[in-house]
Symmetry: C2
Subunit: 170 residues, 2 copies
């Protein structure tokens, strides 16, 4: 019997023991996004030089997380084709997934009508976006439902992606 | 020939002339969400007493918009089962859709792992969420694609919802 082919070596398979082989999926194509100066000029940063960036899973539609970018990390995100944020708590550039492997490869990048919020549609590698191990950071609900993973609108009836053990924070 | 049955009278059909009959859809059930004190205590407001609130369409999965709530308007949103924001520019309570009819009925409400971002999954009435007339405020993309409506992840291949003329801002 031939073992299933993985897209990486031992290091890339280190999450396999959690019961969900994240690297059996095709490797997403990393492609820079050539934003024009006119497009970049539409972005309105707040008084701290930051703009909120929503991250949505391209396949499931789940809203995975929201974090902040400054002009530098927005530029890095577009140039590298993966999300790069500004960590407000650590005050440093935060390449999402750099330590955890849970990289977000950008499929498309959008800005809203008044330019003060960004939206990135991504392929999420690994177990999910949240440092708690949840697929989405929005795993808690107001009301009687309490703790649930983020809804996957438009995809009702699909089985939920199994939760994994907490992973290292980025 | 029997005319198609609408769910409302003349007032409710006032958007019909735009070419898309929004009230042919079933009227969404408005239901309050009984958040516990413990859940509400998880929300972290910024130095201005605000928390960003992402709004996602329950049916299409599109991220429609992001706006801000304070403790009062989060309470109103949960109590009324429709989104109510704090308008930073006008410094007043902003009941989404109060003038435009483009009400967002809340299906579920979520908060993220560190409590500093909210997510509302809604039924969007009328033509869409954006004051420009677009379905989603994220109708512009970085890169060669330029202006497109927000992607509908997981639903690739579905025809896009037709755009309507700009509606009155809320």
């Amino acid at each position: 019997m031939v073992a299933p082919q993985r897209s990486g070596g031992a290091e890339r398979c280190r999450f396999g023991a959690r019961g969900r082989p994240p690297y059996d999926d095709p490797v997403p194509v990393v492609a820079p996004i050539d934003a024009t100066d006119e497009q970049l000029a539409q972005v309105r940063y707040d008084e701290n030089g930051l703009v909120p960036a929503i991250v949505q899973d391209a396949t499931t539609g789940q809203v995975l997380m929201m974090a902040y970018m400054n002009a530098e990390t927005l530029g890095l995100t577009l140039a590298e084709g993966r999300t790069v944020f500004w960590s407000r708590s650590r005050r440093e550039v935060w390449r999402k997934g750099e330590t955890s492997g849970e990289v977000q490869t950008v499929r498309s990048a959008h800005y809203d009508c008044d330019g003060d919020t960004l939206l990135f549609v991504v392929d999420q590698a690994g177990n999910g976006a949240c440092h708690t191990g949840a697929v989405s950071c929005f795993f808690r609900s107001f009301g009687a439902d309490g703790d649930v993973d983020a809804p996957r609108p438009g995809l009702a009836g699909e089985p939920p992606v199994p939760e994994a053990a907490p992973s290292a924070d980025d």
